[in-house]
Symmetry: C2
């Protein structure tokens, strides 16, 4: 497959350089070793590896999904044989540690560049890339919260691709409701813990890709606080390390079964048992676990990672939307079918379907969703860098607040509209798009996961309306409003299409501010949050309109196909999409009680 069908290098270059001025980051100490050249080189490398090592087995890793096998009473997951070698090339190229500290072996690239690097793999083969993504998230969390010994023992092998990582949060009875987990960690005199419980939906929970798997596990220490305050974080390796750090005895973490998913099949998803007695490490019951951070701080540590994971989910959704768009555009340009409406001569040659207005509508919508989503994600990545490395504390704080506020939108909006892009990609292909002989049906199935994992759509909605827009006295929401307003001011100055779009965005933003205040006059949280999903979707569309206005301004000086394409997509977004916000905000302003007043027995 051509890499031009995976992502657009021209668009990435535009977004990273022309719009976000990523090169400026290299003036900062952390990124001083880098330059535009090194940034572009690592992106080229990612594009090459994604195209050559990851894309080719994307369909096979879906069709031939991981299998469960039992050997001597112990369960094992068997992955597709092409997964391991592909991951090894990415690890060897240093891409797993692209953004990490040089001190632990990382390339210390800006986070925004790391997101762009990952996007190539997420578009080419999300099922295989997930093993790398989970491992990197795991390593990042250990670096932030683990002891120096834990970091030394586990992080370097992860970045080299020898160890892999998982995040073990959910349990069969506790998914969104983490307060209700029951996995317990019993302290032992030597400072270790013994873990007992079941963990559900664990991606990468078992395989033999490398030498070891590092599970980061949320559990409760008996006698700890109630609810989420009683949750601690533990490192539980599949194989214990001996005194020299070499892989030794098997720990009591075992594979109970696999979940068979609609999509994302290449990523093994498991039910794991901790301490069910399959093996008894050191002759004692329970899986050996090592406390990470302090008791009771497990959820906070996990959420440190979770915010970045949510942006990564949004990035994955955007990447799938993007590749689906490129593939359907390619199809539309080459598939002849029918004649223009009103053309009467049936013997005239057929035209490529991109000539039909309705097909262009579906392509423009995909372009608006995919490029808009990717731009939002990269903007958030830029905020991560700002939050960490901006020169003054006020700028760091402002970036932090803005990022916190945008995170539920960065997770949800690409997940919702990226899926919509993929359904349009299928539709452009007609019957062919519905078959597994083409790629787009897999993108659609894979993308359907994204509104569910790492906090469902509903969880993001409650987070945005219930927490983010009111935190710190509304400081994050204010920062967002000011940011949007500054763009609008520039647009009004620019005139033309930008000014028209700016005026519409100003009006929508003012209305959002008004409605946000109105909703928070409602005293009871259950009433206030009843239509949170409607709020999330309205706010999301307004944020994306702002992202499109930003892009419009960034091509202001250009007059070429690329710039005209950005203008067309921006116009599409402002004409077809932004106006849908009006009725949603009216519903919220009216304090609609339809959902609240519906009794479960009526349904």
């Amino acid at each position: 497959m051509s890499r031009d069908l995976i992502l657009s290098r021209a668009d990435l270059e535009f977004l990273l350089h022309d719009w976000l001025h990523v090169e400026e980051l290299t003036n900062r100490k952390r990124f001083a070793e880098h330059s535009r050249e090194t940034i572009d080189a690592v992106l080229e490398l990612a594009a090459d590896l994604a195209t050559e090592q990851f894309a080719p087995h994307n369909k096979r890793n879906d069709a031939e999904e991981p299998r469960f096998e039992q050997v001597d009473g112990v369960g094992y997951a068997r992955l597709h044989p092409e997964v391991g070698p592909a991951l090894a090339t990415a690890a060897e190229a240093g891409l797993l540690s692209a953004t990490m500290d040089a001190e632990v072996g990382g390339l210390q690239l800006p986070h925004v560049v790391g997101i762009a690097v990952a996007a190539w793999f997420q578009a080419a083969n999300p099922g295989t890339w997930a093993y790398a993504m989970l491992t990197v998230a795991n390593a990042n969390l250990l670096v932030a919260h683990g002891s120096p010994e834990q970091v030394r023992a586990f992080v370097p092998p992860m970045l080299e691709g020898r160890f892999h990582g998982t995040m073990c949060l959910s349990e069969p009875q506790a998914g969104s409701s983490l307060a209700d987990i029951t996995t317990r960690a019993e302290p032992r005199p030597d400072g270790t813990h013994r873990m007992f419980g079941s963990k559900m939906w664990i991606s990468g929970g078992d395989h033999e890709l490398g030498e070891n798997i590092v599970h980061l596990v949320l559990a409760k220490i008996p006698g700890g606080g109630p609810g989420v305050r009683g949750i601690s974080l533990f490192l539980v390796p599949k194989y214990l390390l001996d005194a020299d750090g070499a892989v030794g005895e098997r720990n009591d973490v075992t594979l109970v079964g696999l979940n068979h998913k609609m999509g994302y099949r290449g990523t093994v998803n498991t039910l794991l048992a901790f301490g069910d007695g399959t093996v008894t490490p050191g002759g004692e019951a329970g899986a050996v676990g090592y406390l990470v951070g302090s008791p009771g701080s497990g959820l906070a540590a996990m959420f440190h990672m979770m915010n970045e994971a949510r942006i990564a989910v949004g990035a994955g959704a955007a990447a799938l939307a993007y590749t689906g768009f490129l593939k359907s555009l390619d199809y539309a340009r080459t598939r002849p079918q029918g004649r223009p409406a009103g053309a009467k001569d049936p013997s005239a040659p057929m035209v490529p379907i991109v000539r039909h207005a309705d097909v262009r509508r579906m392509l423009l919508a995909q372009k608006a969703y995919a490029e808009g989503a990717l731009a939002l994600i990269l903007y958030c990545g830029r905020l991560v860098d700002e939050e960490r490395t901006a020169g003054d504390a006020a700028a760091r704080e402002r970036a932090h607040l803005l990022l916190e506020t945008l995170t539920p939108i960065a997770k949800s909006w690409p997940s919702q509209w990226g899926l919509e892009a993929n359904t349009l990609a299928i539709q452009v292909h007609g019957g062919y798009g519905y078959t597994r002989e083409y790629d787009v049906e897999q993108h659609y199935r894979d993308n359907r996961l994204n509104p569910i994992h790492e906090g469902t759509h509903g969880i993001q909605a409650a987070d945005l309306l219930g927490r983010k827009v009111v935190m710190n006295g509304g400081a994050g929401f204010t920062a967002l409003r000011e940011t949007v307003t500054a763009t609008v001011a520039r647009a009004e100055e620019a005139g033309g299409l930008a000014a028209t779009c700016g005026a519409a965005l100003r009006q929508a933003t003012d209305r959002l501010v008004e409605v946000t205040a109105l909703v928070h006059t409602c005293p009871h949280p259950e009433d206030r949050l009843a239509n949170a999903a409607v709020y999330l979707e309205a706010a999301g569309h307004i944020v994306l309109a702002w992202i499109w206005l930003e892009q419009l301004l960034a091509v202001q000086e250009r007059d070429d196909d690329f710039a005209n394409g950005k203008r067309a997509a921006a116009r599409y977004f402002f004409r077809f999409e932004l106006p849908t916000v009006g009725p949603r905000l009216d519903l919220l302003a009216a304090g609609d009680r339809t959902v609240l007043d519906t009794a479960p027995d009526w349904l």
Copy 2:
């Protein structure tokens, strides 16, 4: 599986009897043998067979999809072994011919009842039921357009389940653009034709369910008119019949390959070769075909069937939406997770998720889509009966016009929003819904076919805006407007919620009428139809609001959970859905040129 998770008997009873007064049809001569009792009995029978014979293998027929095998150089499709016996029970019960004339062995039930009967099977197992549906459509077409000999030879064995039927329209290079088919039918002196060409996307194109397969094939007779006027219809059996009507020599229709679909996997979908020389019937090249009707009338005959097929597609989409709704409702009532927003005590027991407002929102939306779609489809079924059996010619003509106008909406709206219902059904299930261990992911995959086959969403849009609303000087559109207005008048009289909804619907309808006229002031068809899909979606939502207002009025006198549920869903539709029509109509009124003015090279 309980049949209460397939469809709701209470709702069917409400829609058919309380709302559509189907029993009144039994006063007409054609249905005089029937009564409420016989109608209810056949529906009970359908529910039983769907539950006991079809639902149990729905997942297996997806997981173990049809296989391609070659024996002595001839391709064969091998179906799941549970498909044949299930279809046989439906045929034995007489359900294939439920609505057909007693003369050909049918039960002569009203068409609206036939749709309700089929809905049970479409919800329980669409992959298996499709073989029956195609066979019935084929038999109906032959009864309407075939010669008496053709009917005698082929229809009774089809209704008995011994022969099956297909519709062969598309070719690899001609899908939506039927004018471009190249399959040719060469006349022979004995009045038969010899067929040469490839047909693509042929559902049920090969299998060994019975003794024979009756292909109805669109082809061109050399020297015929250009474009669609040169298309004729042929009957091409897989096995030729001997003089006594017994199955004899193999015809040259052979299976080239299977399409591997995302969903609807239980229905084999094929590429067929006609006359490629695999066999030479009677020692001569070409597949033997028999002209149905007159030369050049092929497309008209096929469209006779196609209109009913489009309503059947909408019915299938509604049925899948419905079963997904019932399953996610059942899950939401039994799955404990979390506590109400604002509840602070983490040791309080968890509540079933139906108690969370956001989950009720997703259930209400599904209810509004699924019950609304089913109601629309049954209304259309009632119009078919009216068109055929109403006492006076004016009523028949009016029903005909209304049905023609509603058909693109009846096909598209359930396909679009039924899919949306299914994505919400997955979302209610959380991670579980994304696994093949639960049913809803299959419903979602299956339902994704519906906006594609039997005329894509875009084709329906062009049909509605380009033909249906303007045909006969706008008579169909006027009939629709008058029908809606009459309901609004009743609603205004009824007062309360109905009057409020009625006022909103009156306003939306007036605006639709205005915008329809405005769009048609645009002289060039390409410009006029550029935003046809937006028009289809706006008109669809207005029609569904009317359907919900009708249901609201029909429960006016009741005060029970069922009636309160209908009220809640109607309120949901009017508060959350109908207002989205405003921006769509504004876009159309503005004659938006975004799509038209976007050059293919800009994308």
